[in-house]
């Protein structure tokens, strides 16, 4: 076993852990992987960097047996293999941790781990418990095997996912956007785990769209763009160059020769400066929550006695760790679930008894964070999804009949305005990348005269450029007089966007902070303080 700090001298003497040679994968309308070749070595963290839709996940899904390539070879330890199922991949020692959890929340930690054990009919809890202790100590983790999985923090759930991926003795571990749902502390813990795994000689593939992550965690960085491998940074360069130099080089690789013209580069590299509240706000309240209480569903926290006043054209942030009542509160405002107590007022009138469609007519919009299962219908076209909240209304429907021409022309207009990358308005939404699906959702929510918009994690899982464009859209809307509530777990995002930030903890508002130089610290204090009660 080699130490983790230097590259193990395995290159010459042995075959690398994984070699992908000329991988091609085409989906209808998208060439997801265009002749990509990649080598992953033992004891190295290989970062796969690229924007959403660049083909990172497809490439790794090929390695983990979820997707079969159209052309190209996969070699493990120098041996050509055809991986035809996830099970086969696991058998070959390839473990993958997906972006979205695959754990069953109602089961205990140990039960979740034993689900992967396909052999035999009876579950061997004693053996599994031993394996858990063994893996836990090698990763430096202390996991309670009897804890109910759903009650664990997201960071702990992810640690459990890693343990699950290593359960059958993996040699290669793939982490797909592992930091997207973690708090800063969770990220630090993850970094430690990855370092340990590296030290034990595992080959780690780290998929990310965040530049600084790739630079700080990777021993080697491969940059993907539009399905092609556009560049790679070798360990020597990663060690010798400064952070800024590396950043510049990666941006140049990602955006090609046009990087100099790309207006976003400055934004991309700069840190976030606290944004000062706009003093010109009218004192007219747009949305008022008055002691709102939402009963928790199974595994939820609910919202308790939440009072909040959002002024017209203000951007109000709601900060907090995921699972602290954000969704319950957002759905209560949108009307998707009832409130047990309190009142919700829109421009002074109570809307607590109105249904979703009635609130929508009054100008209330809800940009859900579950854009794939809730915000869109994947089997319908982009055009249809854009008018889904207008069903039956003029000009898209007349006397109950659909008017395709009106829908298509509106869709074309919005595809242009919101820069939705789609082969056409009649492409099924399911065929688009996550960022473009989010743009479809935004196009729908922001195009039909919105007055108050609730954004739930609006840039969650999006790449740098789409994130930037979404934030710009939110700002533009506010400038035009739209009131916004931005729910986010990303504090930087809230400080970048908001006039004020409220902190939600355990379903309660623990404080509201005016944005400004000391806001970050104060919000942090409120988040921590709220947690300890």
């Amino acid at each position: 076993m080699t130490t983790g700090t230097t590259t193990p001298a395995t290159d010459g003497s042995e075959h690398p852990a994984v070699e992908l040679v000329g991988i091609v994968k085409e989906f209808p309308g998208v060439l997801a992987n265009d002749r990509i070749s990649l080598t992953v070595r033992r004891g190295e963290v290989h970062c796969l960097l690229g924007e959403n839709g660049a083909g990172k996940s497809t490439l790794m899904n090929i390695l983990s047996g979820m997707v079969r390539p159209d052309a190209g070879q996969v070699k493990l330890d120098g041996r050509v293999v055809e991986i035809d199922s996830p099970k086969h991949a696991i058998g070959l020692g390839i473990g993958m941790v997906y972006q979205h959890t695959s754990l069953v929340p109602q089961l205990t930690v140990l039960e979740n781990l034993m689900l992967g054990e396909a052999e035999g009919i009876r579950l061997n809890a004693a053996h599994a418990g031993e394996r858990l202790r063994e893996l836990g100590s090698s990763l430096g983790l202390d996991v309670d095997p009897k804890a109910t999985t759903g009650m664990l923090a997201l960071g702990q759930q992810q640690q459990l996912e890693i343990i699950k991926a290593l359960w059958r003795g993996s040699k290669v571990l793939i982490l797909d956007e592992p930091t997207s749902m973690l708090t800063p502390k969770g990220v630090a813990e993850l970094e430690q785990i990855v370092a340990r795994l590296k030290g034990q000689g595992l080959a780690v593939v780290f998929i990310t769209h965040k530049l600084h992550e790739a630079i700080s965690m990777g021993d080697r960085v491969a940059i993907l763009s539009q399905g092609r491998l556009v560049g790679a940074i070798e360990p020597a360069e990663l060690r010798s160059a400064t952070h800024d130099e590396l950043q510049e080089r990666i941006i140049a690789l990602m955006f090609g020769g046009q990087a100099a013209q790309a207006t976003g580069v400055a934004e991309l590299t700069d840190g976030v400066e606290p944004h000062l509240p706009r003093r010109a706000l009218a004192a007219e309240p747009a949305l008022e929550l008055d002691s709102v209480t939402v009963e928790p569903g199974p595994g939820e926290i609910g919202a308790h006695d939440v009072s909040l006043q959002v002024l017209k054209s203000e951007i109000m942030g709601i900060a907090g760790v995921d699972g602290n009542g954000q969704r319950e509160l957002a759905e209560a405002i949108a009307g998707q679930r009832g409130i047990a107590d309190g009142d919700v007022r829109l421009f002074g009138h109570s809307i607590a008894r109105l249904k979703v469609a009635q609130r929508e007519k009054l100008g209330l919009r809800y940009v859900t964070d579950d854009r794939i299962h809730e915000g869109t219908v994947g089997s319908l076209s982009v055009a249809m999804n854009i008018v889904l909240k207008q069903i039956g209304r003029s000009p898209f429907w007349g006397r109950g009949r659909i008017r395709y021409e009106a829908i298509l022309s509106k869709a074309r207009e919005l595809i242009g305005r919101f820069d939705i990358r789609t082969p056409g308005p009649e492409t099924r939404v399911a065929a688009l990348s996550g960022g473009n699906i989010q743009k479809v959702v935004l196009a729908r929510e922001l195009s039909f005269d919105p007055k108050v918009v609730v954004y739930s994690k609006p840039t969650y899982g999006l790449d740098v450029r789409t994130t930037r464009s979404v934030r710009r859209t939110i700002r533009e809307q506010a400038r035009e007089g739209v009131t916004s509530i931005v729910i986010s777990t990303d504090l930087e995002e809230l400080l970048d966007l908001c006039d004020r930030v409220a902190v939600l903890s355990r379903g309660r508002i623990t404080g509201v902070v005016e944005n400004g130089p000391s806001a970050q610290q104060r919000v942090g204090e409120l988040m921590v303080g709220g947690k300890s009660t």
């Binding site: 046009q258 809800y366 219908v377 069903i391 820069d419 056409g424």
Partner: protein, 389 residues
């Protein structure tokens, strides 16, 4: 759009012409063959092997199915069988598209049949024939719809699984229909448990030109046209109206439907009532067009026959017609062929069962090869070839 992308310093997105065109076309044809034709071929092939194994000449058997279903003036019978099967099929398409499993078809069917055969023959003398028939169709539809109300409300209000509730309601419906036939609707002039037979003149008129000299009834009844009209109506409803889109959004995801502000409980009830209504109409065509009375032990169990068909047709109301015609032919001709071969008439049902089995298999293959499933969002997906982007 090209300008904006260039300004942002980006590469071109995939061009619209590249993706569709020949490859997608081939994909769709292949997909159609895989999902909609192959299961039938495999079922007929396996059926032939089974026949050969039990000593029946399969070629002769399938020949007999054809001649029993088409020749010897049997095509009228086959065509008349289309009416109830097609009406049930379109009723199922409405609910299945809404993502709801109405499996209580037989209960709804028999109860509607019992009510109209019981009361129909009583007031046939008092009303003009056309109005009488219209009224009976309406009553049958309402009874069929009414029998879905309990599962509909239970699902709409308490999200109770409708597979279980509709199956339970179908048992109650079948038995209730028997009680009605043996009890209040019993023909007093006979000891056989059956309703009073309609007068020939009070039954559905036949389509001119379909008469056959050798037959008891004059020709193919107009119920077939009613069924064809219903198929068109459902196709229009699902692909062109706002209600159709709402039902399909509900079918795609209940979460999305709620998020979009749709009245989910109301849509569930509407879908159930519509399907029950069409099943009731199916019963009316069979009683008023073919049977003329109802025996207590009569249960054609059409529901089971139709379920695989609507999936073969990918829940398309017009697309299901050829399958229904084929099945009608097989069910009429199958009786004759089975008789000739000394088999039970249930052999046709075996073929239907095999079709379902092979559908499950081809579905598995198709999902790997082409993606998607038997439950498409097809009608609203691509309404015409459209290249602009």
């Amino acid at each position: 759009m090209t300008e904006t992308t260039a300004a942002a310093g980006l590469r071109e997105p995939p061009r619209p012409g590249e993706m569709t065109g020949g490859q997608a076309q081939l994909g769709r044809v292949g997909d159609f063959f895989l999902r909609s034709i192959l299961p039938l071929v495999l079922a007929l092939g396996t059926g032939a092997i089974i026949l050969a194994a039990i000593g029946v000449d399969p070629i002769q058997y399938y020949k007999d199915v054809y001649s029993g279903g088409v020749q010897f003036a049997a095509w009228q019978d086959s065509l008349m069988r289309v009416a109830p099967l097609l009406l049930i099929a379109v009723g199922l398409i409405v609910v299945f598209r809404a993502g709801i499993w109405n499996l209580g078809i037989d209960g709804q069917f028999l109860l509607a049949a019992a009510v109209i055969s019981g009361i129909g023959s009583r007031f046939e003398e008092h009303l003009p024939n056309a109005i009488n028939l219209l009224l009976l169709f309406l009553i049958a539809g309402v009874v069929g719809a009414a029998w879905t109300i309990v599962p509909a409300l239970l699902k709409a209000r308490y999200e109770l699984n409708e597979i279980i509730t509709t199956l339970m309601m179908t048992f109650i419906g079948i038995n209730l229909a028997q009680i009605l036939v043996k009890g209040p609707f019993q023909d007093p002039t006979t000891t056989t448990p059956q309703t009073r037979a309609f007068d020939f003149t009070a039954l559905l008129p036949s389509i001119p030109g379909t008469e056959s000299a050798s037959r008891r009834w004059p020709g193919v009844h107009v119920g077939v046209l009613v069924a064809a009209a219903a198929a068109f109506v459902v196709w229009f409803l699902m692909s062109r109206t706002s209600l159709g889109l709402r039902l399909q959004v509900l079918g795609a995801s209940m979460r999305s439907a709620r998020h979009m502000g749709l009245d989910v409980p109301r849509l569930i009830i509407v879908a159930f009532l519509l399907s029950g209504f069409f099943v009731g109409l199916a019963a009316a065509t069979e009683i008023l067009g073919v049977k003329g009375y109802q025996r207590a032990d009569w249960n054609p169990a059409f529901g089971l026959w139709v379920v695989p068909l609507v999936f073969l047709a990918r829940l398309h109301a017009i697309g299901v017609i050829p399958y229904v015609v084929l099945l009608s032919l097989a069910s009429i001709g199958g009786d004759y062929a089975a008789q000739n071969a000394g088999l039970t008439p249930q052999f046709t049902l075996l073929l239907v069962g095999l079709t379902l089995l092979f559908m499950a298999l081809t579905e598995w293959i198709a999902r790997r090869a082409a993606g998607g499933s038997y439950l498409p969002g097809a009608s609203y997906r691509r309404h015409r070839a459209e290249g602009a982007g």
